[in-house]
């Protein structure tokens, strides 16, 4: 971990829903061009924490935060949220392609950010679909609705859509939990290729998945006040073989959760 460049980080980051504290003073450094997995039982705040990196929690009324979240050393709270979300893409639990054509789905982000030229768009759409490993399956009819694809294809389309705005970080919130094992495997293979160019943070319920795909693993757990805490963070191999904290060990070995 010492030799890694930090892409995103938090310092003393807490989040409140109204008066209820959901995240308790989290410090973490997410290394660049690596896959960092967040694991922990349901309700431990891992999704909420992930959504802090692109400020999706801003949408929820009554949410307040203390501490800082940084991207490349800069406080994201002070950044223009539109620019932040261009740099920090997100893939959701349920595939959510827009009810538009495959092409328009991928071109959606670039068009927002000012790309109008048709041939440039076509090049970018193809590149993004190739990177998301779905080009071969859809290239014959890009005008087909994105909704007509299978669940796994829809999720890869959503990854292509996120890639198309050329982000630095891709946040994935249980991206395979609604998919069958074959589609899940494809997404995992894809993540491995994507980390060459992107920093990836993934929330997963599935410990095997975290073990398979991630370089680093963060284990989160709620304390007696039901606030989410970061219990342990380290190289995935270390977390899964020689966890330092006994709670991590209990969770990894399936004693609870």
């Amino acid at each position: 971990m010492e030799n890694e460049t930090t892409r995103m980080s938090t310092e003393g980051y807490s989040l409140f829903y109204g008066r209820f504290k959901a995240l308790n003073s989290i410090d973490i450094k997410i290394p660049s061009n690596r896959i960092t997995a967040f694991i922990g039982p349901s309700g431990c705040g891992k999704s909420t924490f992930l959504r802090s990196f692109n400020r999706m929690n801003d949408l929820i009324p009554g949410v307040t935060t203390t501490g800082t979240v940084r991207l490349d050393g800069r406080d994201v709270a002070k950044e223009d949220v539109v620019k932040l979300r261009k740099k920090v893409g997100m893939v959701f639990q349920r595939p959510n392609p827009f009810p538009k054509s495959i092409f328009d789905n991928v071109a959606y982000g670039p068009r927002l950010h000012g790309l109008r030229n048709r041939s440039d768009l076509a090049v970018l759409v193809e590149k993004s679909l190739r990177q998301a490993a779905i080009w071969e399956e859809v290239k014959d009819d890009l005008q087909k609705s994105g909704m007509s694809l299978s669940g796994g294809q829809q999720q890869r389309l959503c990854i292509a859509r996120a890639i198309a705005v050329e982000p630095e970080v891709i946040l994935m919130d249980e991206p395979a939990s609604a998919l069958d094992p074959v589609a899940t495997l494809k997404i995992e293979e894809l993540m491995n290729e994507l980390k060459m160019n992107y920093t990836i943070a993934i929330v997963t319920h599935n410990m095997q998945q975290a073990g398979r795909v991630s370089d680093y693993t963060a284990f989160m757990l709620t304390d007696q006040n039901r606030a989410g805490n970061l219990i342990e963070f380290g190289a995935t191999k270390q977390i899964f073989t020689t966890p330092v904290d006994s709670r991590t060990e209990d969770y990894i070995s399936g004693r609870f959760g």
Binding site: N96, P97, L112
Partner: protein, 299 residues
């Protein structure tokens, strides 16, 4: 009797009852159409369908029964109501579903629903007392205040609750994932609304507008009170083509309501023919909505 056969029996009875209820509305529509048509036949036969539809003079005393002026009147006032009412209603729907904080929604939505409950004759009074004098201020030769513009505004307000309510529901029903997906790509709120939410809610919005159109075409008493009721083909009063909306007019519905109490013979039959034309116009509007919806679904 075992409970099994009793349940199957109930199942069959319910199925029949439901089928009958569903067929009832079809039957009623058919009956209304057949009887209106039957009453309209003498006029169509005596005067000729095309001559009635294309005729611009309506002089029952002279045996002239052209209803083109009324078709134009209904068409133009509905167009006017759509031009004014749809943007207003959509704006309301978007504001209530996406922008307004909860407490504003709690005030605005009931007041819109209240709007839907006001009897149309009261809208007519409001139009006569408030809108007509205002419209009369527009300088144009022959502008009496009574006419298409005042009627369009009244009608726009009358269809507003229908269109706003259904559109708001349609926009609210767009899955949250679309909203989040768009925002997460760096879209602003307005970009998300205009590029994702409204297109996704399109079928619902189209249904809303069609329901509004149907209501607009059918509105009678409020129109009689503000539109002027002259049987003239609406025409621009000045060089500006928009001044056509300052013209007096008569709607198909108004034509029937104003004259049916004293009409006899061919005159009476011609009023039924007016009803048939109205009926067909509304069917055309509804089927064009179906067409638009199918085209939307293909994309």
């Amino acid at each position: 009797m075992t409970s099994g056969t009793r349940r199957t029996g109930l199942e069959k009875t319910m199925k029949t009852i439901l089928l009958v209820s569903a067929l009832a509305s079809l039957l009623i529509v058919l009956l209304i159409f057949i009887f209106t048509m039957k009453e309209a036949m003498p006029a169509f036969r005596e005067l000729g369908v095309w001559k009635m539809l294309s005729g611009t003079t309506w002089r029952p005393g002279n045996g002239e029964f052209g209803i083109l002026a009324m078709i134009a009147g209904s068409g133009l006032v509905t167009l006017g109501a759509v031009l004014i009412g749809v943007p207003l209603a959509l704006g309301t729907a978007i504001f209530l579903s996406e922008i307004a904080p909860g407490w504003i929604v709690k005030i605005v939505r009931p007041s819109i629903e209240l709007l839907a409950g006001i009897p149309s004759v009261v809208y007519g009074l409001f139009g006569m007392v408030v809108l007509v004098p205002l419209v009369r201020e527009i300088p144009a030769p022959g502008n009496a205040g009574f006419g298409l513009l005042a009627a369009s505004i009244v009608l726009a307000v009358m269809v507003l609750p229908t269109i706003a309510n259904i559109s708001e529901f349609a926009i609210r029903s767009v899955p949250r994932g679309y909203r989040e997906g768009s925002l997460a790509l760096g879209a602003t709120k307005w970009e998300t609304i205009s590029r994702v939410l409204i297109p996704a809610a399109r079928p619902g919005i189209i249904s809303a507008v069609v329901l509004g159109l149907g209501r607009a075409l059918g509105e009678t008493i409020a129109m009689i009170m503000v539109i002027g009721n002259s049987v003239v083909l609406p025409a621009a009063l000045t060089g500006n083509p928009l001044s056509i909306f300052l013209s007096r007019a008569r709607t198909l519905t108004g034509n029937i309501a104003v004259e049916i109490s004293y009409a006899t013979g061919v005159h009476e039959s011609a009023l039924f023919a007016t009803g048939v034309v109205l009926f067909i116009l509304i069917m055309l509007v509804n089927s064009s909505a179906g067409f638009l919806l199918r085209r939307g679904a293909r994309r």
